[in-house]
């Protein structure tokens, strides 16, 4: 009996590793998720049914009920929620995982308080579980907007650190003395919850994904600790996997945002201020990176490239052609939209693109491409600015008012590559960059597109 369960756990562990690995590549990610999920299912079923305990039917019924309720709710939420609300959902679920770990600790404490190792794991499980739970809930609140403002607590760092040290000391005391007090345990739980709140509350909304990833990693560690408690390998290895992969992921996410983990957690309060133009608030800028941009384009059906003066300045005509060829080869339908005054001389874009041997039939005039944007998945704007500035339609006070422009706003998603937030020839702000459908890919066009091509090649 026992051997069977152990083998099931072994298999589950392997599915976790393989699943996680496959989750790291766009083509295999879905499969990876399924593999890990089936491993998890196996482990759960095995745990319930393969043992030699005499368990009263009531308990089985309770377990079944609990699983049923959890499954149905989880499933429904997951398939109903809007795409944009998914990250907050992840946070919520993660909090539940943490809560589960804490609850286990609450139940097991009195039974194991005499054994130092066991007591240590339990206490650690309760603390970590509590922190993840409350932290995740705060993160969830911030992301779904119920917790709007960034709370600035005076003396934040000292208070926080003090609390942390206090919790550790408290836990050490409990383990050392071996006191069997549920009350103290609940106190510990409460302080863990408090720390979780304090930890996440001052962090800006834009940094939430990083925080969630970090908390997720903590849940993994809580699971592993519980695994040590039960001498259960699948929990141990699975938990550690999540813990270490989670840390790496957290660091990668910080890097992708050009932040350090430290600056996210302490100090810097994320989420830029909203830019204001004229009387209008423009909202905030979303920036992206070559890797993301590459994946989006790779999985798009219709891509339109809008070249502008910046393409010429960067001399990126050869790279853009390489990008276009590569996308075409992968079945993406690519076109160039040529605005009549893009660049600094009539036909500037034509000279440029002819040099890199872009086929003439790939170039589409403004009047012909404008109706097609609504059907376009991604517009890649490279070093263009005025020629895609909606102010030409909207703002009678603008010097470019009345100039026909490329209506890239109508596309499903817009990626804009430029070096920074400088204005173009007309010297004016561009609302497009603040559009919720727009992602900015900052950098010199040649360098950024070269990276983009390299990312595509790796896919």
């Amino acid at each position: 009996m026992d051997i069977l369960l152990n083998i099931i756990y072994l298999i589950a562990t392997i599915t976790f590793i393989v699943g996680l690995k496959k989750l790291g590549h766009p083509e295999t990610a879905k499969k990876g998720n399924l593999i890990a999920a089936s491993g998890m299912g196996l482990a759960i079923l095995g745990t319930i049914f393969i043992h030699e305990l005499a368990v009263p039917p009531l308990i089985y019924i309770l377990i079944g009920l609990a699983i049923l309720i959890g499954s149905i709710i989880g499933w429904l939420i997951a398939i109903k929620v809007e795409m944009t609300k998914m990250p907050e959902l992840v946070s919520l679920f993660n909090g539940f995982g943490g809560a589960s770990a804490a609850l286990i600790g609450l139940v097991e404490y009195s039974k194991n308080v005499s054994d130092v190792t066991q007591a240590t794991t339990i206490v650690a499980g309760v603390i970590i579980g509590a922190i993840t739970f409350s932290g995740s809930l705060i993160a969830w609140g911030k992301l779904n907007g119920s917790l709007k403002s960034v709370v600035k607590i005076p003396f934040y760092n000292p208070i926080n650190n003090l609390l942390f040290i206090g919790i550790i000391a408290f836990a050490a005391f409990m383990i050392a003395t071996g006191v069997d007090s549920q009350l103290l345990l609940y106190a510990l739980l409460a302080s863990g919850l408090a720390y979780g709140v304090l930890f996440v509350l001052p962090i800006g909304g834009a940094d939430m994904p990083v925080v969630i990833s970090l908390l997720n990693s903590l849940t993994g560690i809580a699971a592993a600790i519980t695994g040590i408690l039960y001498d259960n390998m699948v929990m141990l290895v699975g938990g550690i996997l999540v813990g270490s992969a989670g840390i790496i992921l957290t660091i990668a996410m910080c890097k992708a945002m050009n932040r350090t983990l430290g600056s996210v957690i302490f100090g810097a309060f994320g989420g830029g201020e909203a830019a204001v133009v004229g009387n209008k608030t423009l909202g905030s800028i979303k920036s992206t990176n070559p890797s993301d941009a590459a994946i989006m384009m790779n999985y798009a059906s219709n891509v339109v490239i809008v070249p502008g003066y910046g393409l010429a300045v960067a001399q990126a005509q050869h790279v853009i052609h390489e990008l276009e060829e590569m996308l075409s080869k992968r079945g993406v339908n690519v076109k160039y939209a040529i605005h009549p005054v893009a660049g600094r001389m009539p036909g500037h874009m034509n000279v440029l693109l002819a040099e890199s041997n872009v086929e003439y039939h790939m170039l589409v005039e403004m009047d012909d491409i404008n109706p097609q944007f609504s059907n376009t998945d991604i517009v890649l704007v490279v070093g263009a600015n005025d020629v895609v500035n909606p102010a030409a339609h909207n703002d009678p006070a603008s010097p470019i008012y009345g100039m026909p422009i490329l209506d890239v706003e109508n596309a499903k998603h817009i990626i804009v590559n430029k070096r920074g937030m400088n204005a173009g020839y007309a010297g004016i702000e561009n609302e497009l960059f603040y559009n919720s459908k727009t992602s900015m890919l900052f950098g010199d066009a040649k360098a950024a597109l070269t990276d983009l091509v390299a990312e595509l090649k790796n896919m």
Partner: protein, 102 residues
Amino acid sequence: MTDFLQFIEDNLQITYILILSIFVGIEVIKSIPAVLHTPLMSGANALSGVVIVGAILVMLHADPADYLALALGFVAVVLGVLNVVGGFAVTDRMLQMFKKKK
């Protein structure tokens, strides 16, 4: 410190398992494209729901008369399952966008 060394001594193989698992976790994840960050986080989150195994064990070992333990265990299982099922399902939905083109 000595406690720590003692733990290693007592659980030498567990220590190796811990360290090897950390390496596997790191190696398996490094250099993933940024657009997979969120799905991967979500997937890892579902995996962390493995704590459910512990919650089930609590229930299995619980004294049918210990209502508190039963109640706590019950909640723990519900939450754990939520984490697991919801986690995998959400991940799967996120990954819809990577469907191969026809």
